[in-house]
């Protein structure tokens, strides 16, 4: 790859608010960009299943944690994120029934561009094989502390 072009037309539009994107209201506006993206960072490893449950899995409650995305991909519920009513920048992430993490929404020192990078072997059209800058994120929800038990 001697040279690859980054298409940043969408990031340009987002920065200039000249498309359908507009500033979000309420808590969505605190955590997400107008395009709807956020970064959630946990200082540690998040242990989640790597496979969806088999069709004959007997634990119905466990199976309920799984959803499908765009009818093809699988996702699992990691927990619930709750924000303090008094301070919308304070967050608690409840994981399962026994752990909670305390965190906050912080500004990033340097804004982060989100690049959508095509992987080799793509059979899509030429325009979809270009690197795209899809959004620019200026803050993140960070959980720095050790997990606390849920009493």
């Amino acid at each position: 790859m001697p040279s690859a072009s980054i298409d940043y037309s969408r990031a340009n539009a987002i920065l200039n608010y000249d498309t359908e994107v507009s500033k979000l209201e309420g808590q969505d506006g605190v955590i997400s960009t107008p395009f709807g993206l956020s970064i959630l960072e946990i200082q540690g490893e998040l242990n989640i299943p790597t496979e969806p449950p088999a069709s004959d899995h007997t634990d119905a409650e466990y199976v309920l944690n799984f959803i499908t995305v765009d009818q093809v991909y699988h996702a699992v519920k990691c927990g619930n994120l709750e924000f303090d009513a008094a301070d919308p920048k304070k967050a608690t992430l409840f994981i399962g029934k026994s752990q909670r993490l305390l965190g906050s929404v912080v500004n990033l020192e340097t804004p982060l561009a989100v690049l959508k990078v095509p992987l080799g072997g793509s059979s899509e059209q030429e325009e979809n094989t270009q690197i795209q800058m899809v959004d620019i994120i200026r803050n993140k929800i960070i959980f720095k502390q050790r997990p606390l038990p849920i009493m």
Binding site: M1, P2, S3, A4, S5, I6, Y8, N12, L15, N16, Q27, D28, I31, S32, P34, F35, G36, L37, S38, I39, L40, E41, I42, Q43, G44, L46, I48, P49, I67, T68, V69, D70, Q71, Y73, H74, A75, V76, C78, G79, N80, L81, E82, F83, A85, P88, T110, P111, L112, A113, V114, L115, K116, V117, P118, L119, G121, S122, E124, M133, I136
Partner: protein, 361 residues
């Protein structure tokens, strides 16, 4: 307010997501240049090296700026979330509900950018005049060089680069000297006032072609030694005299200063009378008593302690302003040049405003 947090455990195979830090000037570029260019470039020339000195790296370039790209790994879990209340990505989930955050990518690193001037490595390029080569064109070289287009253009002519029959070459110093000599001699024979007059570029190219010089080589040489606009050029006489001085110095061994000045003067084209000042050649000579000798800064070590050692081998006592040009490009960012000199040498006052630099022992 509460959100349900989901994380994908299987991902599309045709694309992935990465994070790129945006320094303020790059952010400005993205905001203010709707149709501008943004490139990630690498240097395949470096991949091909077999001497183990691969200096390969990635850069991000706009049309006129370059940033070096570094992958910064971390051990945190970083989830890129799509707020399904907004969902501009148009994702569909099997159990839609209020306030869902869907993690659709995980990042174990981000790309950090630091300002760079870009690099243009000409060491592998063929020389002109020389054997005919079959390699890269100008456009291909630009694509394959980790530097922005504007910075490339600025360095290209200065390094003596030119394109002949879709092949890039670097003009040899002797050829540059010979053609420059011809150009100035011809201009003077045509009553051209080299000190102040602006010349017409087309006329210059036509004149050079009649003397069987390659027009693209002339273009390189005139860009290297003149201030060029779209149609005109104005000679940079101090740069020209410095070029001839450097060539004369390089051709001499150790030579007395008066003899060198005579040789320098006689190397210039006839009737080309420009002031000669030895201080214009700082960074290319060392003194030995009343004589001077040529120092090739490209052949000195790039490691500061060894560089000082090599310089003190040539001369045990350097005038401060003569040693500075030979080391200033190697001073670490954020350090003052004097602190580097004091670390590897001694700085002594020898007059009201003059200093010498000598070895520590």
């Amino acid at each position: 307010m509460s959100y349900s947090v989901y994380q994908q455990i299987s991902y599309p195979e045709n694309h992935t997501y990465k994070f790129l830090q945006l320094p303020p000037d790059l952010l400005d570029h993205v905001k203010n240049n709707k149709d501008g260019q943004l490139l990630i470039k690498s240097s395949p020339l470096d991949h091909d090296r077999t001497d183990g000195n691969s200096n390969s790296h990635l850069v991000v370039c706009t049309n006129d700026k370059t940033w070096k790209l570094r992958q910064m790994n971390h051990s945190n879990t970083v989830m890129l979330m799509n707020n399904m209340n907004v969902n501009k990505l148009g994702t569909e989930v099997s159990k839609p509900g209020p306030n869902q955050l869907l993690g659709f990518a995980l990042g174990s690193y981000e790309y950090e950018l630091s300002k760079s001037t870009g690099q243009l490595d000409i060491s592998g390029l063929p020389r002109y005049p020389g054997p005919q080569a079959q390699g890269m064109s100008y456009h291909e070289l630009l694509q394959n060089t980790p530097i922005s287009k504007r910075e490339f253009e600025q360095k290209w002519f200065d390094l003596g680069g030119c394109e002949i029959d879709n092949q890039v070459y670097i003009l040899t110093e002797s050829y540059i000297t010979e053609v420059l000599h011809h150009i100035i001699t011809t201009l003077i024979s045509q009553q051209f006032d080299y000190k102040s007059q602006e010349g017409n570029l087309d006329e210059l190219y036509a004149m050079a072609q009649s003397q069987e010089h390659n027009p693209t080589a002339i273009q390189t040489i005139i860009h290297k030694f003149a201030l060029v606009t779209n149609e005109t050029f104005k000679l940079d006489n101090s740069k020209i005299s410095r070029w001839f001085g450097k060539q004369t110095l390089e051709a001499s061994r150790i030579i007395s200063v008066p003899d060198f000045l005579v040789n320098w003067k006689s190397s210039l084209p006839e009737f080309y009378n420009v002031p000669l000042d030895l201080s214009d050649l700082k960074g290319y000579y060392f003194r030995s008593g009343n004589s001077i000798g040529y120092v090739d800064p490209m052949k000195l070590s790039t490691s500061l302690p060894f560089r000082f050692e090599q310089l003190f081998y040539l001369d045990k006592s350097w005038a401060y302003d003569e040693i500075v040009p030979l080391i200033e490009n190697f001073v670490p960012v954020g350090k003052k040049i004097d602190s580097v000199i004091i670390k590897y040498a001694k700085k002594k006052r020898v007059g009201k405003n003059s200093f010498v630099v000598t070895p520590r022992s």
